[in-house]
């Protein structure tokens, strides 16, 4: 390669590396601000501020959903496997909302670390499948469950 071109090329690549490092440093410094939501573990350990609007994200804990009879009020727990946070919400939940689904709730933590949410968003995962496949998989799981409980009735 022509020496002058070589010089220009290395100059450009050097500049690109420099910009890359600068951006990487800036982004890692802003890590917490770029994260869309706090996980239940972060809320439990007190990383999330109280009395400001925050987002909490995680999976809706199975069997934790309580609906009010005469209003749109709902209460449910959001967990990440280690910790759980109670969420109170009044309004229409997104179509994808269900137990076991990933969600993000926006609201304020009260003194009991309960999130009083004014917006609940459903998080979609990267899995796509036709309804028949999903039903078939449910069936297989159910059969496995039945088989294991039949094999060890005392375990139940």
């Amino acid at each position: 390669m022509h020496p002058q071109r070589k010089k220009r090329l290395s100059l450009i690549l050097l500049a690109l590396v420099g910009i890359g490092i600068a951006v990487a440093l800036a982004l890692s410094a802003l890590q917490q601000n770029i994260n869309l939501f706090y996980t239940p573990s972060e809320i439990a350990t007190g990383h999330a501020p109280i009395d400001t609007r925050i987002r909490a994200g995680g999976l809706v804990v199975d069997g934790s959903l309580e609906r009010s009879r005469d209003s749109l009020d709902v209460r449910f727990k959001v967990g990440d496997g280690a910790e759980e946070v109670l969420v109170a919400f009044s309004g229409i939940l997104p179509d994808l909302f269900r137990e076991g689904q990933g969600i993000v709730a926006l609201g304020k933590l009260d003194e009991n670390r309960m999130l009083v949410a004014d917006e609940v968003l459903a998080k979609h995962d990267e899995e796509y499948m036709p309804p028949e496949v999903a039903q078939a998989m449910d069936k297989v799981n159910q059969m496995k469950l039945d088989a294991s409980s039949a094999a060890s009735p005392e375990a139940k």
Binding site: L16, L27, F37, L96, K123, H124, E127, Y128, P130
Partner: protein, 247 residues
């Protein structure tokens, strides 16, 4: 390595001739792929078990997002070639590709918002993926505006090349935003190392659509570049002859 191909690219006349021969093939492939892919994806592919039919917007959203990012990488490569080898054709490619990339980014953002309302419950959220994609749109706008604002052709080419190269750091940020931070946008369904998290009857039409979008991008880029080359070379004899042939 044989570099004669690369050096020939420096000649606008050569590029004009060869692109004229390529165009019909890319056009035919693009029309065929988009037609088959969209009919298959929109009518015959199965529904999703959670989202129902609304997932079908993936057949527009994902190809547009792919092309939007690839197009930006192409701008940066063209910028480097233009700055290092002073190749005029690279500047033509950079100038002509920017508006196409901007449109692709816009399509990806709009289709994502339309899908987001029924699925997430909101059109827009300031998470890392959506925000970095919006920055990509603004980078395209910046390149277009900078190219138009400077009337001197040489200076304008250099300035847009520098902006295109600097902006390329945003591409890995878009790609890995869903892994580095927690976002509302889901992680990638398609990874090079793993099987896609989607059955074959869903991703095959998507693959056709992606290839079709790339063909569409190539066709529109070549057509724009050919017009731009004719405009720049309108004092030369071959360009005049080519224009007369078109009339």
């Amino acid at each position: 390595m044989n570099w004669s191909f690369f050096h020939k690219l420096g000649s606008p006349k050569w590029f004009f001739e060869i692109s004229g021969r390529w165009l019909p093939w890319f056009t035919a492939a693009g029309v065929l792929l988009l037609l088959v892919g969209s009919v298959w994806g929109l009518f015959f592919a199965p529904q999703d078990y959670q989202q129902g039919n609304s997932f079908r917007i993936i057949y527009i959203h994902v190809p547009a997002a792919f092309v939007a990012q690839s197009c930006y990488i192409m701008l940066a490569v063209a910028g480097i070639v233009g700055l290092v080898w002073r190749m005029k054709l690279a500047h033509v490619a950079l100038k002509c590709a920017a508006p196409i990339g901007a449109w692709m980014t816009f399509i990806a953002l709009v289709t994502g918002a339309i899908w987001g309302k029924p699925t997430w419950g909101t059109y827009w959220v300031w998470d890392a993926r959506l925000t970095s994609m919006l920055i990509l749109l603004f980078l395209y706008f910046g390149i277009i505006a900078l190219g138009q604002a400077i009337s001197n052709r040489e200076t304008s080419a250099k300035a847009t090349a520098v902006l295109a190269i600097v902006g390329v750091v945003n591409i890995p940020i878009i790609k890995y935003s869903v892994d580095w931070w927690n976002t509302l946008h889901q992680p990638a369904t398609f990874k090079i190392t793993e099987k896609p998290a989607m059955p074959v009857e869903m991703w095959l039409p998507l693959l056709l659509m992606v290839l079709g979008f790339y063909a569409l991008f190539t066709v529109s880029l070549l057509m724009r570049m050919r017009v731009e080359i004719l405009r720049r070379e309108n004092r030369t004899r071959w360009a005049r002859e080519a224009m007369e042939k078109m009339l």
